[in-house]
Every structure is written in C-alpha cells, then in structure tokens.
Symmetry: C2
Subunit: 193 residues, 2 copies
C-alpha cells in the first residue's frame, strides 16, 4: 500500500504535509479531500480520522495518523528539519503548539471566511482580526535567530504566507515578510497570490 | 537557579506541568501567576514568555519554555510517559495537538466563563457547548487501547476531569468517566470537586 495523504489543496495545514514529504523525497499519493463538500464526514474518511479533519495520512501498513503538526513530526523525526538538541526541539514544538492555538484559529479562519466563503468584513467576528494581528505582532519580534529551517517554520509559514487573503497586511510586519520569503525560498514555493 | 514554573493553579494547562514534574520527581519552584490579575502581562513575565500565556518555565540555566504540551514533552522525553515506538509517539502528539485545537478551546473556555467568571448559560457562545460535547463524544469512542499512561492522557485529562464545571455531564460518556478515574488514580489526584 502506498502512503496516502488526504488533504485539501487550499488548506495550509494540509500543505504542510505535502511540503515536508516533498522536501524529504518521500513518495505518496495525494487524495484531494475538500473540507466544504462533506468528504471529511463520509464513513470511509472517518475510518481514517474519526475527528473528521484533514490532513490525515494512511501509512503503508494501513495505520493512520492525523493533525498536521503530529504528521510532519512523524516524518521529519531524525532529519535536519528537527533539531538534535533537546531544548531546541522543545522550542520547535512550543512554536507548533502556539501556531495551532494562537495563530491558525484566527488567521486561517479569517482567510477561509473571506477568501473562500466570500463573507464581507462586517460579518466577521472582530476577534479574528484582533487576535490574528496580535499573532503576527508576536512573530515580528520573535523570529530572530531562526537561522536553520525547522518544522516550526513550516508550520508557521503555512497560513502566514496567505494572511493577506484574510485581510492582514504583511507590510506592517517587515521581519515576518522577509522571513516568509526566506522560508518559501527554502521550500521551493512561489510567493502566494 | 532552581527550575521555576509560572502557573495558575486553577488552569488545567498549568497543572499538566505540575503533574508531570511531580511524577518524574523533578524539583521546581511554583510561581503562582494568575491569568486574571494582569500578571501574565508584566514586562517581567513577558521576558519569560512573550506570548503572555501560562504555563511557562524558566530552566536552571535561565532559558525559558512555554506551551503546556511542549513543556511536558521536554521533561518527559525518554521516560515511560512517552512511547518508544515512533508511530505511538506520533499518535501521542496527534492527541495533544487535537486537545489544544478541538477540546481545550471549548471545554476549558466554557468552564472558565461559567465557573470562574460566573457568566450565566444564556450569555455563553452556544458553539462552546456544541463543540465541547463533540470533543467528549469523540473521546468516548477513541480511548480504547490506552493501556499505558502517556502525555496524551495527561493533556486530555486536565480539562476533561473538570468538564462538569463547564456544564458538561460526564455521565453521558461512561468510558470517558472511567478513563478519567483511572488517569487520576495513576497521577495520584483526588477526584475534582
């Protein structure tokens, strides 16, 4: 059985998995699984991930795994994307947990509502903008010293690079903007439209 | 310098760190840091965790670390709280990321608003109840085979054991209830009031 990745190509969480597998030159089959057409709620998909969320992977031996940051942690363990040093590795996970708790729920959610659902500004929960901006502000002063690419950069860049699609102006965060360009370069990605 | 843990004793996220350190018999100084009186926003605290969130730890060498699940991962690495098997370790992280994304933001937040801020039911966002119940429902059918305590149990039990303080009836989830009692027993905790 070939490794299968169930993901939606417009989801940064799903693209994290693609980028890491591509970089590590691991072969896989991408199974396009849209989050808006109910495909994550079919019995077949729930058998892979009972939480009904993408991304999820089915390994060669049939076992499955979910949660973007847990999946990339699994594949990247022991590679140059995960620091050897115990403290640096914990810091990487600190950023990854922060991303899922304090960044994605605002920046990714606002982008989804604006860019994919076409909701006007006035209908959006103002907290999404306020907290998303706070997350970018924290990154502006917290990214120094990241000289070597790790999973933290992959996790953080996924929605930061498309934050403008959620109405955030990266021009206000010049260090974040420069870091996005650098990480996109390292991952071989074109700038997001 | 002695290891310092900055935490609020009513926060499940902070208690995770206490429970793991106690179990591993690691000495530390607990610095009570309330989330409601502005102590997480002082310049001193922001020097420890620029995200202004507890828990955070300052290690013996002066370096700091934040995010409950990253902190417990740091201390428990190489102990019996983290599976040796690579896939089982990734599953543990899957649960821990799921806990922070799909469990804590609903169950812990509703409990905080009800139990600590005293807000009446009618003022609470109905999504908190709906999604919190969905998380408990998922656990009811997803906890089988957890025969050995890991960090995933520690992370999940923190707010599940006090879910009733957020208006959730654990009587509806008998397997979750039995699992809570078992994990509390393993951690040496009395049942939550």
């Amino acid at each position: 059985m070939v490794l299968s990745v169930y993901g939606d190509s417009v989801s940064g969480n799903c693209l994290k998995v693609k980028w890491v597998l591509d970089r590590l030159k691991i072969d896989y089959r991408w199974v396009e699984t849209s989050v808006v057409d109910g495909r994550t709620r079919t019995p077949e998909f729930l058998g892979i991930n009972p939480a009904g969320q993408v991304p999820a992977v089915r390994l060669e031996d049939g076992r499955s795994l979910a949660q973007s940051n847990a999946i990339i942690g699994y594949f990247a363990e022991g590679t140059d994307l995960v620091p050897d040093d115990r403290y640096e590795r914990a810091r990487m996970y600190e950023w990854m947990f922060w991303e899922q708790y304090s960044h994605e729920p605002y920046i990714a959610v606002r982008r989804f509502q604006m860019f994919y659902l076409g909701r006007p500004d006035a209908e959006l929960d103002p907290k999404l903008f306020e907290r998303g901006a706070a997350a970018l502000g924290r990154m502006e002063f917290g990214l120094e010293g990241r000289d070597r690419l790790s999973l933290a950069d992959v996790a953080l860049v996924a929605y930061t690079r498309v934050a403008h699609q959620g109405g955030f102006d990266l021009g206000l965060y010049p260090r974040v903007k420069a870091w996005v360009a650098r990480v996109e370069g390292e991952l071989g990605l074109p700038p997001a439209a």
